[in-house]
Structure formats: structure tokens, C-alpha cells
């Protein structure tokens, strides 16, 4: 069983290499085709002379033909060098390793909150289709999708920070005057917990809660709707009728028979939602000054800073692959009909 899973994971990872290669090449070419000249942007100022810009361009290697640049870039990627950010002056790798945990922590928490609400809501709606509960759930989901994250984020800040004063000021992962935890995993909640600093943990958690809720609100809809649809389908299936005919208790039928089967498609959607949240919720990071990878990539893109953008896209592609493989393995464990080999 375990070796089967490992073999499958290995095969899937190998199979994803061509796709990753394609992503690298396409991003590289796209960045070159887009308007904007990094040399002009990063020269000393608007008054910089032509020679100075030419000099900069040569030092950045931009004077070479694009295919040559591409080959050199591929070589660097293969040796693990993703280049240096012109904006921060740091190697992209070190910027990424500092910022990725922030994004992951936010996304995982948001996903957890979303699942905590969407699955019960979806189940409730499916158990009473067409009733008030169903309509309320539908309305909540529609609202979550319709309101852009920057609006819902600002509304949450207005309500919980400005009016009620319950939330800390929405600036980054931790209060500016508080000290960050020792850098063990990069996940503040885990690091504080490891150190046993529960006051710091609470501080980090309260900083995290509002942006995570904002994100969760946005993905509530796909998860809850999927749970509802798949739960409805399962509740109508023959084996649920059998369970009723055998006199099983209602709770057991709903949880052990219906929900476990209904969660299989929800699992698939969860994988997609997670990957999307990580990259696409740049607005949440911006609104809450969250030092994550998405806002980092957006800044770099606006500055025509090639290296961080290319690294970001590659990172996203790799995370997408990893998430898909993980979901596949989980699916194989949850559903005996999927052969492991």
C-alpha cells in the first residue's frame, strides 16, 4: 500500500517536470514581451543618461538576444539560482523563504475557517433543500463571491478595528512593537507555540484572524455549494435508502454514510481552492499589509523586476503540483475504488 502510494507520487512528480519547464519558459518570454524596461526603471533617476542606462542593461545581461538570455536563465534555475531582486537587492530565494510562510500561514488558516463553515452550511442546506436554511446559505455564498476581497476586508477592518476595537491594527503579521518569534519554521503560530510564548501566540493569532476571515469569505461559496450538491446526490442514492431500510440512526446515516461519500468531490475542489487562494488573494495581502509572496510578486511586476515574478510563477506552479499530488493520495486513501497502483 505505502510503496504503491510512493511509487505513484514519484511518477506524478516526474510527469510534472515538462509542465514546470513550460511554465518557466512561457513566463520568461512573457516578461520580455511585456512593455517596460527594467534598466530605465532601476537607473539612478529620470535624468539618467543614455550611457548609464546602456551600462546597466549590459550588466543585467539584457543586451543579449532573448534566446541567449533564456538559456542562461534556465541554467541558473537548474542550479537553484533564481536571480536577485532589483527592488529589495536580496536574492529572490531568501526573499521567498521569508515571505512564503506568511502566505501559507494565512492561506491555511483561511482554508481551515472556510471548511469549518462551508461543510456544515452545505450539509444543512442539503438536508433541507428549498427551505429557509437553504436560501440563507445560498445568499451567504452569493455575497461572499460578489463582494470583492478588498471591500470585505476593509469592511471587516472598519467594523472590528475602527468601530468595535476588537481587532489589532491591520498592519502585518505582528504588532510593530512586539518582538517576532525565533525563526524556526517561519509560521508564527507554530514558532510561538514551540517557544511556549502564548501571549505572543495570541497576538499573532489576532493579527491573522481578520485577513484569514476575509479570504475564507471569498472561498466559502465554492466549498459550500459543492458540499451541498454532492451531499444531495449522495442522499438520493440507493445505499442511503438501504441504510434507512436497515434502521440505522439518522445521525449515523448522515455522517458515516452520506457525508463521508459526499466529501470526496469536496476534497478535489479544496485542492483547487487552496492553490488559487495562495496566489490570487494578493488584494488581501495588500489591504492588511501582509508580507506574503503575492504582494511581493505584484510589487515586482509593477517595477518590471523580472527575477521575482518568474520565481513566483515557478513557485506557484510547484505548489499547484504538490497540492494536486497530495489530494490524489488523500483521495486514494478515502475512496477504496481508486486503485493505488
Amino acid at each position: 500500500m505505502l510503496t504503491g502510494i510512493l511509487r505513484r507520487v514519484g511518477r506524478r512528480l516526474l510527469a510534472s517536470i515538462p509542465a514546470l519547464f513550460g511554465v518557466v519558459v512561457v513566463t520568461f518570454v512573457l516578461m520580455r514581451v511585456l512593455p517596460g524596461d527594467p534598466a530605465v526603471f532601476f537607473s539612478s533617476g529620470p535624468s539618467a543618461g543614455k550611457e548609464e542606462i546602456e551600462e546597466l542593461r549590459r550588466s543585467m545581461g539584457l543586451d543579449r538576444p532573448i534566446p541567449v538570455q533564456l538559456v542562461r536563465y534556465l541554467g541558473e534555475v537548474a542550479t537553484g539560482n533564481l536571480g536577485r531582486s532589483m527592488t529589495t537587492g536580496q536574492p529572490v530565494i531568501s526573499d521567498m523563504t521569508r515571505r512564503l510562510p506568511a502566505s501559507l500561514e494565512l492561506t491555511c488558516t483561511a482554508l481551515f475557517i472556510a471548511l469549518m463553515f462551508s461543510i456544515p452550511l452545505g450539509v444543512a442546506a442539503a438536508l433541507r433543500p428549498g427551505t429557509a436554511i437553504d436560501h440563507v446559505v445560498r445568499m451567504l455564498c452569493t455575497l461572499g463571491v460578489c463582494v470583492p476581497t478588498f471591500v470585505s476586508g476593509l469592511l471587516l477592518i472598519y467594523a472590528f478595528y475602527y468601530l468595535l476595537g476588537w481587532a489589532p491594527d491591520p498592519t502585518g503579521r505582528i504588532d510593530i512593537f512586539a518582538s517576532a518569534p525565533p525563526d524556526i519554521t517561519g509560521f508564527f503560530l507554530i514558532d510561538f507555540a514551540l517557544k511556549g510564548d502564548w501571549e505572543g501566540w495570541m497576538a499573532a493569532f489576532s493579527q491573522l484572524l481578520l485577513p484569514a476571515c476575509t479570504m475564507a469569505l471569498f472561498v466559502l461559496a465554492p466549498l459550500a455549494r459543492m458540499t451541498r450538491a454532492s451531499m444531495l446526490a449522495v442522499l438520493g442514492s440507493d445505499f442511503i435508502r438501504t441504510a434507512h431500510a436497515m434502521g440505522l440512526s439518522r445521525l449515523r446515516i448522515i455522517v458515516a454514510y452520506a457525508l463521508r461519500n459526499a466529501l470526496l468531490p469536496v476534497l478535489t475542489i479544496t485542492g483547487i481552492v487552496f492553490s488559487t487562494m495562495l496566489g490570487a488573494n494578493v488584494l488581501v495581502e495588500k489591504v492588511f499589509s501582509w508580507p506574503g509572496v503575492a504582494s511581493y510578486a505584484l510589487d515586482a511586476l509593477l517595477a518590471s523586476d523580472y527575477a521575482p515574478v518568474q520565481a513566483f510563477v515557478l513557485l506557484m506552479a510547484m505548489i499547484f503540483v504538490m497540492v494536486n499530488v497530495t489530494i490524489d493520495v488523500l483521495y486514494g486513501i478515502a475512496d477504496p475504488r481508486v486503485s493505488v497502483a
Binding site: 445505499f239 438501504t242 434507512h244 436497515m246 434502521g247 440505522l248 477504496p336 475504488r337
Partner: protein, 556 residues
């Protein structure tokens, strides 16, 4: 006077649909004594399943009991609460269903599901839950019960799933078991063993049973009393032998007439009013001139799907021009693979397929649609519902092969050809503009046949074309196919597990087992003197409609 175990009085059920309320049961009266077997027979839509679900109070949300009473063991359970019902279901009153594989939870093991039932009624002793489950599996005579405990439903055959289902249903020793089409969709031999198992368990435990079936042969063989249902009413009920010997109601008479007996011919099956589309035809003597090549010849055909055994293993046979050949065997015998090979939807690994003296095995399956032979070999699929495009009208479905294979454009020529095909399939012209969901099962089957005969094929492959149809519809469709063969000289390859149907329709027979031909020859002689043990077993399992139960008397 003995007390009735179950009494249903004037039971009325309505369903609320988008088009208002529909009454499904118009006052049903049935009664059942302890240990007795009652058969409820009728065609699809007659309300026999609704009756059983109403008794179990398992109707879905749209269905409602609007009148009448259900009394079980002297208690009125018509309006019993959820908790009372839960205690009753699965313990005193149990049920098994059609399509056993779907009726089991796909992601729980057999053991877990049996234990769930025991636990629900407090009959489980934690210490030996496994032993209890094992004993139940032994009671339903499953081979290798220890290994089956940890199996999932998809790893079991349909017959084994039904045994597991029975094990769950009898786990808490019910006094009444409702079996809703328990053997429909199973192989004939499996059908027989499942019914024998049910009868045995019933006798051992003194359990009463309601057997719901569309198969009069099955009901006649296993039931003490029969209730015949039509359109939500019980039109006739009584002792099995008396009822079938002298049916009083016209509907019962029609059902009895349409049910194949050991000696019936196609012409016997449908009364004149049903057969109006198929006037009796005088059998034209078919010429079998020596020297003309057969219509189809298979020479040592082999097909393997990479498994340890071959799906089709060295099969050879012939169909003469205008002849009809029946291909029979249980599921997994390779008959569907063979029909797909002949239809050239898949490629054989070895051997040759010769159509009208010309080898067609060498054209790869994916290019066969370009071959002129594509028109000559057409297929009618098993499920009339799933084999029609739901977005195509009947006209479009029939016109499709004409457009694709003959390049006909919209116009009078296409109109004529579609109408001709519809006429040959006995499809009324005013149905041509309808979509599949607006047609009945029999009408959909006719659209499928019209589509297949539209390009004027010379060989028609029929993959269990009547398996999903009611007996009266089956009778008409069989007569139609026979007429196509006699009048138009179309060769028929009839794939079926129903030997009785094959006997009536086909001149010759090929019996397949595990991909190999075990017996071949003229149908009549195989039916009278089967040579192979396997053929004998298949023949013995056929549930003939035999109201006098000569079979049982003989064995008793």
C-alpha cells in the same frame, strides 16, 4: 382465525411533481400471513415498488401517504414516528433491493456494513462482532466468507453483493422481508441461486416474504399468492396456480400471454391488438444456396485486454445471409466484447472476421467508419435510455447515421429515409419530433432500432435489446425484429443472457463461457438436447412461466 402479519388497506399515495400532484396508488388492499410468500407483479409504472416503499415508509420527500392504513403485527404503522420506524426497519421488517451493488455503501467494507445493521438494533456484542458478521455471510452461502469480510462492494460480483445485502437484511431475524426485484440484472444462473437462497432462508426462519417482480415466471415459481398491479391498482389477486391458470382480468390475461413459456413461439406472445404494427407474416423460405459465402464468418478470433485470461479465446462461427444467430453466456463470458469486435468498434488480436467474403479485420477500428462496410453492420444497444442523445429528437437520432455515413443533407431525401426507417421499426411518425425523455421505454427501443436500420444494414447486432423492457413491450419488439429479418433479409446477431428469447428468435446458437465457445448448433436441438454441462446449467436456470410448477413437482 390467524392474524395477518401485514395488512394494507385502501392505501393511497400521491407524489407532488412540478406538474401538480400525481396519484401513484389508488387504494391498495393486500394482506400477508406469517411465513407466506406474496408476489406483486406488474409492469413498470404499475406502482409495485411504491407499494413496498410505502409499507416501509421509505417514500422520498415528494411521496405522501394520503389515505388508508398499514398494519404490521397488529400495529398501525401508517403514521408511526421516526424512532418507532427506525426500530422496526431492519429488525422485524426488512428489505432488499434491485441493483445490489448500488444498494451497498461503496466506501465501507462488507463487515462494517453488516456490523452497522447489528449495532443499530443493539444486537451486537462488541467482542465477537466479526464472528457474527462471518456467521451471517456463511448463512447466505458466500464462498470464502473470511476474505469477503474486508472486501468493498466494487470488488464483488452482482450476485455476491445481493448475498451481502440479504445477509444485512436477515441479520436481525426479520419476520417479513420485502424483496424488490432482487434478481433483475443478474445472470440467469445467479438469479436462480439467489432465489433458492431466499426460499431456503425463508423456510429455515419461518419468514414471510413479498417478492416484487416484473417476471411472471419468477413469481409463479416462488410465490404462494400473487397480486397483479396495473396503474396503481391491484387488479387481481389470488392463489398462484389458480390465478395464472384462469386469469380473470384482461390485464392479467395480457401479461400471461406475453410471458414466454417453455413452448411459446413469437406469434403466441402478443395478442392481436398489441401486434397491430406487426401483422403476421408468412415465413418466406430462406435460400441457403451452397457456394454463396456466409454473411459473416469468424475465424479463430482472439481478443485480450491484457489480463491473465483472454476475453475472447479462439471463437469461430458463421451467420448465413438473412440468418439469425444467438450469442448466449453469463456476464464476463465475452459476448459483449465479441459483438464489439464484429461491429468493428475494437480490433481483434488474432484471427479473421469475414463479412460477405471480404475480410474486415484488417481495417483498424478507428478507420472503419470510412469503410463502405460500416453501413452494412449496425448495432442496437442494450439500454434504450442511455444510448440516445438526450438533446436529439427521434428524427435527429435516426437521421444521424444517414448524415454521417451517406452524407445526406436536410431535404426530402433525408425525410423519406428517416420515415422509411421509422416505419420499419414500427415507430409512429408523430413521435419523430419528440426528445427521448418524452418517449416510453418501448418507443425509445424502436428509435434505437430505426437508427440502426436507417442506413439499410445487412447485419444487425442486438446487444440485449429487450433487457430493460417490460414483457409486453419485449414481445412486440421481438416480433418486429423477426419481421425485419423475414421481410428485409437482415442477418441478426442477438446477444442475450435470456435463453428463452434467443430460442424463439434465433435459428442457431453459440454458447460462450469465459471467452470460449462451449457449444454451437441449431437452437431447437440445443434446447432439446444440450451437450455441454454449462449449457444444461444455463437452461435449467431459465425461469419459465410455468404456473403448474411441473418443474417443482418433478423434483419434489
Amino acid at each position: 382465525m390467524t392474524q395477518d402479519l401485514l395488512r394494507v388497506e385502501n392505501l393511497q399515495v400521491t407524489f407532488s411533481t412540478r406538474h401538480g400532484t400525481v396519484t401513484a396508488l389508488h387504494g391498495i388492499d393486500i394482506a400477508l400471513k406469517a411465513g407466506e410468500t406474496l408476489g406483486i407483479v406488474g409492469e413498470s409504472g404499475s406502482g409495485k415498488s411504491v407499494t413496498s416503499l410505502a409499507v416501509m415508509r421509505l417514500l422520498d420527500r415528494a411521496g405522501r401517504i394520503t389515505g388508508g392504513r398499514v398494519t404490521f403485527e397488529g400495529r398501525d404503522i401508517t403514521h408511526a414516528g421516526h424512532a418507532d420506524l427506525r426500530r422496526l426497519r431492519g429488525s422485524a421488517l426488512s428489505m432488499i433491493f434491485q441493483n445490489p451493488r448500488a444498494a451497498l455503501n461503496p466506501i465501507r467494507t462488507v463487515e462494517q456494513q453488516i456490523v452497522d445493521v447489528l449495532a443499530a438494533h443493539g444486537k451486537l456484542s462488541r467482542a465477537n462482532a466479526r464472528t457474527q458478521a462471518l456467521d451471517l455471510l456463511r448463512a447466505v452461502l458466500i464462498r470464502d466468507p473470511e476474505a469477503r469480510l474486508s472486501a468493498y462492494p466494487h470488488e464483488l460480483s452482482g450476485g455476491m453483493c445481493q448475498r451481502v445485502m440479504i445477509a444485512m437484511a436477515i441479520a436481525c431475524e426479520p419476520v417479513l422481508l420485502i424483496a424488490d426485484e432482487p434478481t433483475t440484472g443478474l445472470d440467469v444462473t445467479t438469479q436462480q441461486t439467489v432465489m433458492e437462497l431466499l426460499a431456503r432462508i425463508q423456510a429455515e426462519r419461518g419468514m414471510a416474504m413479498i417478492l416484487i417482480t416484473h417476471d411472471l415466471g419468477l413469481a409463479a415459481r416462488w410465490c404462494d399468492r400473487i397480486a397483479v398491479m396495473e396503474a396503481g391498482r391491484v387488479v387481481e389477486q389470488g392463489e398462484t396456480v389458480a390465478l395464472f391458470e384462469a386469469p380473470a382480468h384482461p390485464y392479467t390475461k395480457r401479461l400471461v400471454a406475453a410471458s414466454p413459456t417453455r413452448a411459446s413461439t413469437l406469434a403466441d406472445l402478443a395478442p392481436p391488438d398489441l401486434a397491430r404494427d406487426a401483422p403476421p407474416v408468412v415465413a418466406a423460405p430462406r435460400e441457403r444456396k451452397p457456394g454463396t459465402p456466409p454473411l459473416l464468418e469468424l475465424v479463430h478470433v482472439v481478443k485480450s485486454f491484457g489480463g491473465p485470461t483472454r476475453a475472447v479465446d479462439d471463437v469461430s462461427f458463421q451467420i448465413p445471409r438473412g440468418g439469425s444467430l444467438g450469442l448466449v453466456g453469463e456476464s464476463g463470458s465475452g459476448k459483449s466484447t465479441l459483438s464489439r469486435l464484429i461491429c468493428r468498434l475494437i480490433d481483434p488480436d488474432d484471427g479473421d472476421i469475414v463479412f460477405d467474403g471480404e475480410s474486415i479485420a484488417r481495417t483498424p477500428a478507428r478507420e472503419f467508419h470510412l469503410s463502405p462496410r460500416r453501413r452494412d453492420i449496425q448495432i442496437v444497444f442494450q439500454d434504450p435510455n442511455d444510448s440516445l442523445n438526450p438533446r436529439y429528437t427521434a428524427f435527429d437520432s435516426i437521421a444521424h447515421p444517414l448524415r454521417r455515413l451517406e452524407g445526406l443533407r436536410d431535404g426530402p431525401a433525408l425525410q423519406t429515409r428517416v420515415r422509411e426507417a421509422a416505419r420499419r421499426a414500427g415507430l409512429p411518425m408523430d413521435l419523430l419530433e419528440r426528445f427521448p425523455h418524452q418517449l416510453s421505454g418501448g418507443q425509445k427501443a424502436r428509435v434505437g432500432i430505426a437508427r440502426a436500420v436507417a442506413p439499410r444494414p445487412r447485419l444487425l447486432i442486438l446487444d440485449e435489446p429487450t433487457a430493460a423492457l417490460d414483457v409486453s413491450v419485449q414481445a412486440v419488439i421481438l416480433q418486429l425484429l423477426d419481421r425485419l429479418r423475414r421481410e428485409d433479409g437482415i442477418g441478426l446477431l442477438f446477444v442475450s443472457h435470456d435463453l428463452n428469447v434467443v430460442r424463439m428468435l434465433c435459428d442457431d446458437l453459440v454458447v460462450l463461457q469465459a471467452g470460449k465457445v462451449v457449444e454451437t448448433g441449431p437452437s431447437q436441438s440445443i434446447f432439446q438436447r444440450p451437450q455441454a454441462a454449462y449449457t444444461r446449467m444455463l437452461l435449467d436456470a431459465v425461469p419459465y412461466f410455468d404456473p403448474q410448477r411441473t418443474e417443482l413437482l418433478k423434483t419434489a
